[in-house]
């Protein structure tokens, strides 16, 4: 079109365009001297037009690389074009790297010979920088989005004609989404929710409806939900930044939920245990008590302080338990209201826990009490006729003394022995019943031990007759603290045993000595002795050594004597034991605390 206009007009228009464009334009001869530049070029170069014209481009802006390009264009006659080519002004390095879109077009004469170059350039430094920072932040966001642990999805809601949400379409998901759900990006984007999860809508949660509200109102929601198609629990946040669209971020919490479930399940064991379960810290303060504890306290009108459940000496018990290694326990009886409990107190050292299980023994206690009463009454009632039988027998012997024939005298004696045996049996049964019920109560009196031994020895001597001489030689001036009846019982038992198990011998020796705050009393016989293997069992209940029928003597019993004796000695805080050699005899000894 321009060609048709007159030459002058065309040049004017071109000059006008050249002057008014933002693009920097320069016309150079084939040696790269400026022939013509526009204002934009002058401004961009930092020189006045007059300073540029006639000057060589590379004198003003030396750059070997660019010079080569210029030379190549000139020599080949082919134009070049660059986008955002970096350039550092050699004379103005403070401007930093600048970026330029530029082209260089050879200007040829009619013979197609290059006579000059048209140089057009636009600085794009600012654009370039913006673009780069944008790209950088975009990449940053994308990386963030894709490296999120939480699943992310962006959706478009689909509404029906009435504006009711009926489905939604996946627009974008992140890597975590793929990982959590197992669904790939390619297969999910653009798909409807009902296609992706055909079963999800059948369960008891209206996903589409809930998200429809979010997309409509822009109100953010957060909730925890079981998602049946994946058999997983999720915590989900849904929000909307644009009407009709919504995003979700979600996290798989299945393992947490399962852990909580497991913990609840485990916790239900102590919680709903019908027996009392408590835990206390090392100072003895209750840190846990189950429902049974509070039920018991409520029934006993004791309020809600679980501390009441514990024995008052819990601190000492804990101290003792902590001295032992690993899991250790003690059993302690307590009374709560009118109920009795056996507390099994455990120290779980590894966990640093004192745990207590309380077993209700009220019924057992009642039955025990009835049994104790029964035994007490029974023994009394049994002994009453025995008392008169024994006395009548002794009366008969007195009356017919000298007049009876010897056979009659022998029979009297036999009856007497049997009465004593019966008395022993009744006493032993009563004692064992007490020991088992933990009711063997020991009184503490100061006792002159020499005197007590002499008395008991005298009594036993009378009952065993003159076959054995009971000798008490090694005396001590000691006083002991204890129950005279019970200690007498132990001593009598040991003496009778000594006589019984040494049928061939003619004496039994007693000695007493003081040692480390204790008095040790020994009874020595010269009888059959006891084998090593049997010695341990001696103090067990119902254990009896049967040396043979011949030795089943006058005072044989239920095998309770040593068991009862051991309990009595232990209740006094003493020890009982023996030394024995088969064929040489035995020495039984027991210790009692001195009392001064």
């Amino acid at each position: 079109m321009l060609k048709r206009k007159s030459g002058i007009t065309e040049r004017k228009i071109l000059a006008l365009l050249m002057e008014n464009t933002e693009t920097q334009l320069a016309y150079l001869d084939k040696d790269f001297n400026f022939i013509k530049v526009n204002s934009a070029y002058a401004k961009g170069s930092g020189h006045k037009k007059t300073e540029l014209i006639g000057k060589n481009h590379f004198d003003l802006f030396p750059d070997k690389e660019n010079q080569k390009i210029f030379e190549k264009v000139r020599d080949t006659g082919k134009a070049v074009k660059f986008l955002a080519k970096p350039f550092v002004f050699p004379l103005e390095p403070e401007r930093g790297t600048t970026y330029w879109d530029w082209s260089l077009t050879p200007i040829k004469d009619d013979e197609k010979k290059v006579i000059g170059l048209a140089f057009s350039l636009t600085e794009v430094t600012n654009y370039k920088r913006t673009e780069e920072s944008l790209r950088r932040s975009e990449r940053k966001y994308y990386m963030l989005f894709d490296s999120m642990v939480d699943g992310f999805a962006y959706h478009k809601m689909i509404y029906d004609e009435q504006g009711k949400s009926i489905d939604y379409v996946y627009l974008e998901i992140n890597a975590a989404f793929e990982k959590i759900t197992g669904k790939k990006r390619k297969t999910i984007l653009g798909k409807r929710m009902t296609e992706v999860w055909p079963n999800a809508t059948k369960v008891d949660f209206d996903w589409i409806g809930e998200y429809g509200e979010v997309a409509k109102t822009g109100k953010r929601i957060k909730f925890e939900r079981y998602f049946e198609p994946l058999n997983k629990w999720f915590t989900i946040t849904a929000y909307s930044t644009k009407k009709g669209y919504f995003a979700t971020t979600f996290r798989d919490i299945t393992s947490r939920i399962n852990t909580v479930k497991k913990l609840k399940h485990l916790a239900s064991f102590p919680r709903f245990n019908p027996e009392a379960v408590l835990e206390v810290d090392y100072t003895g303060l209750v840190t846990y008590a189950n429902a049974a504890v509070y039920k018991i306290l409520k029934e006993a009108w004791l309020g809600k302080n679980a501390q009441i459940f514990l024995p008052s000496n819990i601190g000492e018990i804990i101290k003792t338990l902590r001295k032992r290694k690993g899991v250790s326990s003690v059993i302690q009886e307590v009374k709560v209201g009118d109920k009795y409990f056996d507390l099994k107190i455990y120290h779980l050292a590894k966990m640093g826990i004192i745990r207590i299980y309380g077993h209700d023994i009220t019924n057992r206690k009642k039955i025990e009490q009835q049994k104790d009463e029964f035994f007490s009454i029974a023994s009394h009632e049994l002994k009453t006729p025995l008392t008169s039988i024994k006395a009548f027998l002794q009366l008969i012997r007195k009356i017919c003394k000298g007049e009876c024939n010897p056979q009659m005298g022998h029979y009297h004696e036999r009856v007497g022995v049997q009465i004593d045996k019966l008395t022993h049996l009744i006493n032993d049964l009563l004692d064992v019943s007490k020991i088992q019920g933990g009711k063997l109560i020991i009184t503490k009196e100061k006792i002159k031990i020499d005197k007590l031994i002499e008395e008991v020895a005298g009594d036993v001597q009378m009952t065993v007759g003159s076959g054995h001489k009971i000798i008490f030689e090694k005396k001590t001036e000691a006083t002991i603290l204890g129950d005279p009846y019970r200690i007498g019982q132990v001593l009598a038992n040991l003496l009778v045993n000594a006589v019984e198990y040494s049928p061939e011998a003619d004496r039994v020796e007693i000695s007493a000595k003081r040692k480390d705050g204790m008095v040790i009393i020994s009874v020595r016989d010269f009888g059959v002795g006891i084998e090593k293997e049997k010695q341990k069992q001696l103090f067990e209940r119902f254990y009896q050594i049967k040396p043979g029928r011949d030795y089943l003597g006058k005072f044989s019993s239920l095998g309770l004597g040593l068991f009862i004796s051991a309990q009595i000695v232990r209740n006094h805080g003493g020890k009982i034991g023996l030394k024995s050699k088969v064929g040489k005899g035995s020495t039984f000894y027991f210790s009692l605390p001195e009392g001064n």
Binding site: T387, S388, F392, L430, Q489
Partner: protein, 125 residues
Amino acid sequence: MNKKILIVDDDEAILEVLSAITEMADYTVQTATSGEGALAIFKNELPDLIVLDMLLPGISGKQVCEILKKDLKTKKIPVVMISANLKDEDFRREPWAEEFLEKPLDMDKYLKVIARELARAEVTA
């Protein structure tokens, strides 16, 4: 003059045999079958010694002993307690009594104790 001994027990057989044995040892015997009966006897005349069963219906032997020992007139009379349940903590040593014997009694020991307590009472009197 023979010493007077009061025997208190609620069991007739025991009472009979103890009386016989005690009389054979040349003591004069009086009997009672209850604590109330025993205390009634004390109103008329004082025995020299009392053999007292611990467990009696009504006023128990323990209580009878306590009453006697608190009374100036009777406190010096020796009391020999007899019981089938001496080892039982409920029948623990009554601090007032002079002696305790466990049932069934050994008659030799019984007579020895009576003689000893009577002699001791005479010395202190």
